[in-house]
């Protein structure tokens, strides 16, 4: 369904910009997703630095408590809705059609539409800063704090937050439909379902989650909007509404959303590990079933975010949450045994993938503490949870994203990224990440609630907070290295060639960057590693 744009004869620079702004090419759209997401990543990262700076010492030194609430609300909202979710969609956009041997996404114009809703949503969200204050009720936006109460988050910023989230959610839904149709209808001859790269499988499961869950949060947000602006009474207890209803509906989306944020990163790690171990992925089918199991179980655990509300049936959500550890464990062992007896080429992409394994393991083990309801009574809503979620979303997703960036950058640009700077970035990021977030476990156990602007100097939290702040700036330094690396590699990186990593999947069978419509011709596809087969001949059947 490729539509060709006949570029009008205009000045060269104008037509280049025009070509990007009007493109329906999945590769250009994918790259725009990445640029847009990284912009918001750095922006929200700076917000996090403000938060850490304020918390470094007891006392309110830099911001008011209201501003503080805006800072962490915007940090969380932007990181989740404008960075992690879209950047994974961006990688999917770039890589998935290439990996299945398709010329483009199934609906190129809808693809462009779903991208352009993101910067629009982001601008709406940020408008709060100039309309008298952004949303300040946390990324969760629980009513009645978001209802019309005297001391609640009642500004225009909160309405903008609702509208932005609805817009971004709609973008996700359109993207998910596009992915599903592309993957099911546009695979190259020979690319059967069980020959697809794992990344494609994780994008399928992610898209199903998005498709089933996002409309639910959209409805919650619309109800909240009606409550706030048109005198609705869905969640306002003063007029018979139920604030717990919002939490149920919100987490019915937002827990599956955690898997939306981690599964594609797992898929990327599953692409990197086999290539740099020079072995196939261990337990390819088990891995697919585990991914599907995580997606299915993901819909039955939402209320573990609500154990302390006194309004959920605890044992059911406890056992389901525990059980989700099983498919996750299967994946972990499959990854490790992919490397086992391999020939590990320790380049930057696999370093980040190994970092993913080591850090996501901690985030996963933490999950067992939250699943144990009485333990959750102790740690819920403390810094322990902040540690846990960052070990999943930063230790997991962001390490995976970095690995993916170093891995596919040569394909996207035709140039290699600098290995030395890449390794330095990895080391700094690993140290900074652990310095920032590991002490938060101890802070939470010692009773520090999350989302507080200030704390007592006698509570015993001073030193750990200082360590976390120093770690936060270490992460910032590692991100400066990343920007520098991207900058110099784009200017003068080594030419990459078609296949710099001796990789397995189809995107490496075309030029770097690939031409319009991706392939001149495709190799024969007889396993999940068509390029390996091409190099070494067909090995033992599995």
């Amino acid at each position: 369904m490729a539509t060709t744009t006949l570029t009008p004869a205009a000045s060269a620079s104008r037509s280049a910009l025009y070509a990007w702004l009007t493109t329906t090419d999945h590769k250009k759209i994918g790259i725009m997703y990445l640029i847009n997401s990284f912009f918001f990543f750095f922006f929200a990262g700076i917000l996090a630095l403000f938060v850490r700076t304020e918390l470094a010492q007891p006392g309110l030194q830099f911001v008011t408590d209201q501003t503080y609430n805006e800072l962490f609300t915007m940090h969380g909202t932007i990181m989740i809705f404008l960075f992690v979710i879209p950047i994974l969609a961006g990688f999917g956009n770039y890589v998935v059609p290439l990996q299945i041997g398709a010329p483009d996404m199934a609906f190129p114009r809808i693809n462009a539409l779903s991208f352009w809703m993101l910067p629009l949503g982001g601008i709406l969200l940020l408008l709060g800063f100039v309309t008298g204050g952004t949303a300040a009720a946390g990324w969760t936006g629980y009513p009645p704090l978001t209802e019309d109460y005297p001391l609640a988050s009642t500004g225009t910023g909160q309405d903008l937050w609702i509208v932005a989230l609805i817009l971004i959610g709609t973008s996700s839904i359109l993207g998910a439909i596009n992915f599903l149709v592309t993957i099911f209808k546009m695979r190259a001859p020979g690319m059967t379902l069980f020959r697809m790269p794992i990344l494609v499988w994780t994008v399928i499961v992610t898209s199903v989650l998005v498709l089933m869950a996002t409309p639910v949060i959209t409805s919650a947000l619309i109800m909240l909007f009606i409550d706030r602006n048109y005198g609705g009474s869905f969640f306002d207890p003063r007029v018979g509404g139920d604030p717990i209803l919002y939490q149920n509906v919100f987490w019915f989306y937002s827990h599956p959303a955690v898997y939306v944020m981690i599964l594609p990163a797992m898929g990327m790690v599953s692409e990197i590990l086999p290539v740099f171990s020079r072995k196939p992925l261990f337990g390819y089918k088990a891995f697919i079933f585990a991914t599907a199991a995580i997606g299915a179980l993901g819909f039955s655990v939402w209320a573990h975010h609500m154990f302390t509300t006194g309004a959920v049936y605890l044992p059911f959500f406890s056992i389901m949450t525990f059980l989700i550890a099983v498919p996750t464990g299967v994946k972990m062992f499959n990854w490790i045994f992919t490397m086992w007896r391999g020939q590990l080429m320790l380049k930057t992409p696999i370093l980040f993938a190994i970092g993913f394994l080591m850090m996501f393991l901690i985030g996963g083990i933490n999950g067992a503490f939250s699943a144990s309801v009485p333990v959750d009574f102790a740690v819920h809503d403390t810094y322990w949870v902040v540690a846990h979620l960052h070990y999943v979303l930063f230790g997991g997703s962001v390490f995976g994203i970095m690995g993916g960036l170093y891995y596919w950058f040569p394909k996207m640009t035709g140039r290699m990224m600098n290995e030395t700077i890449g390794k330095a970035q990895f080391v700094l990021m690993f140290i900074g990440f652990n310095m920032t977030f590991f002490p938060m476990h101890e802070l939470g156990l010692a009773g520090m609630p999350r989302r507080i602007a200030d704390y007592s100097s006698t509570a015993g939290w001073n030193d750990l907070n200082m360590v976390a702040t120093i770690g936060g700036f270490t992460i910032a330094l590692s991100m400066a290295l990343l920007l520098w690396n991207i900058f110099i590699s784009l200017r003068s990186g080594e030419p990459a060639g078609d296949d710099p990593w001796e990789a397995n999947t189809l995107e490496w069978a075309t030029s770097s960057p690939p031409p319009d419509y991706n392939f001149d011709r495709l190799p024969e596809i007889r396993s999940e590693r068509p390029l390996f087969d091409l190099r070494h001949g067909r090995t033992a059947e599995h």
């Binding site: 337990g283 605890l314 062992f333 067992a368 309801v373």
Partner: protein, 399 residues
């Protein structure tokens, strides 16, 4: 193939492995020992363990935590060790270009690492469930019943009669105060009910290892028993659910008294009730605001008093920013509290809001109205403040 020379690849590989191992070691040392020592001396900071529990329920949660922690630590060490060992052992050696065996998987291995974790998590679920039924309970048999009322941004504690309805005594905690809170009899089971005036809050005492949300429109209840050995101790507590700009200052304390001491204290506090202390009519358990429009007669209007000043509190603010009164003449303040369920008062301080208090009106929750009789004041500048919300201020000029 990578375009960099092979020997350089292997050197950087070894470099990376060494650096990686150093980082991991450093991180573990830092978090395991160093950081813990930093705050040594604080009884609350006990590394990767929660504080020592001061309730019987908390102690059970801590035991459960210990089991979960030991299982988690074992998994952590085995799996992280496996990752690190694999990376070091199977890194590519210089010049070794052989293709490793192309293993596609092993069904028995998959079965093992499906079944073993399943058994493990079911075990953890069962012990968690057992502990849950022991620590998350509420019985009307409890001798002592207390109701915590949360509102932006302070706590109020109602001590209830055994029927669970009649209020014996109400303690308002001033906003952002360092001290004050709830007294509890050690060794006796306390039933705590949680009621919110406005948004969602959470009652959290770290040394109880327990928290429970305070949800408007809903009454949450739980029992706890403070250890008798902790008599005389004070535990810090605070709101754990984001409730607005003052979330961080929504603090309280729990003080453990001996049962006898508690009875004496409560009897003493509850005593001056015969004339009916109207302030004690806290919000109904349903979280509904107290009946509105009932001006509570607080003292008789002083005959021959001077003018009457009108003051209204609404949205946790005074509607008036400046008042004037005549010097050396008693006057009255007609105070309307328009905030449902939120306690306010009017106090007069010398000079500035933090100056010396010269008059303090009775604290009462809205929506209600009271008239205060203010004694004669010498001419000068004063501030009027809500004792519960020190950020609610205005100026009073006496001339």
């Amino acid at each position: 193939m990578s375009s960099s020379p092979r020997s350089r690849t292997s050197q950087t590989a070894i470099f990376a492995v060494a650096v990686g191992a150093a980082i991991i070691g450093l991180s573990l040392v830092l978090v395991g020992l160093g950081v813990n020592l930093l705050d040594a001396g604080h009884i609350f900071v006990t590394g990767l363990f929660p504080p020592v529990a001061v309730t019987t329920e908390g102690a059970q949660i801590r035991d459960l935590y210990t089991i979960v922690f030991l299982i988690a630590a074992a998994i952590f060490i085995v799996v992280e060790g496996l990752i690190i060992w694999t990376v070091i052992r199977y890194r590519r050696k210089p010049g070794d270009d052989t293709l490793p065996p192309q293993t596609h998987g092993n069904n028995i291995a998959e079965l093992i690492w499906t079944i073993v974790p399943t058994v493990l998590v079911i075990f953890m679920f069962v012990i968690s469930w057992q502990t849950l039924s022991a620590v998350d309970k509420s019985s009307d048999e409890a001798q002592t019943k207390i109701r915590a009322v949360a509102g932006q941004f302070q706590w109020t504690f109602d001590y209830l009669a055994p029927d669970g309805k009649t209020i014996l005594y109400t303690e308002f905690i001033p906003l952002a105060s360092a001290g004050g809170g709830m007294n509890v009899p050690a060794g006796r089971t306390v039933q705590l009910s949680l009621v919110s005036n406005d948004v969602i809050h959470a009652f959290y005492v770290p040394q109880f290892l327990f928290k429970r949300d305070v949800v408007p429109g809903r009454v949450n209840q739980f029992d706890f028993t403070v250890n008798e050995s902790d008599v005389g101790q004070t535990f810090r507590g605070q709101c754990a659910e984001l409730c607005g700009s003052g979330h961080a200052i929504m603090l309280f304390e729990v003080t453990a008294m001996s049962a006898a001491e508690f009875d004496t204290w409560l009897a003493g506090k509850a005593q001056p009730a015969p004339s009916g202390e109207p302030a004690a009519s806290g919000p109904a358990p349903s979280g509904q605001p107290a009946p509105s429009g009932q001006p509570a007669p607080s003292g008789q209007p002083a005959p021959g008093a001077g003018e009457t000043l009108q003051v209204t509190a609404q949205g946790v603010k005074f509607n008036e920013s400046a008042l004037t009164a005549t010097a050396e003449t008693p006057f009255r303040i007609d105070f309307k509290n328009e905030d449902p369920g939120t306690p306010h008062n009017v106090a007069i301080h010398q000079g500035s809001p933090t100056g010396q208090e010269v008059f303090k009106g009775e604290i009462f929750p809205g929506v209600a109205e009271k008239t205060y009789d203010v004694p004669a004041l010498p001419a000068g500048a004063y501030a009027f403040v809500c004792t519960v919300h020190p950020n609610m201020t205005g100026t009073l000029t006496v001339q």
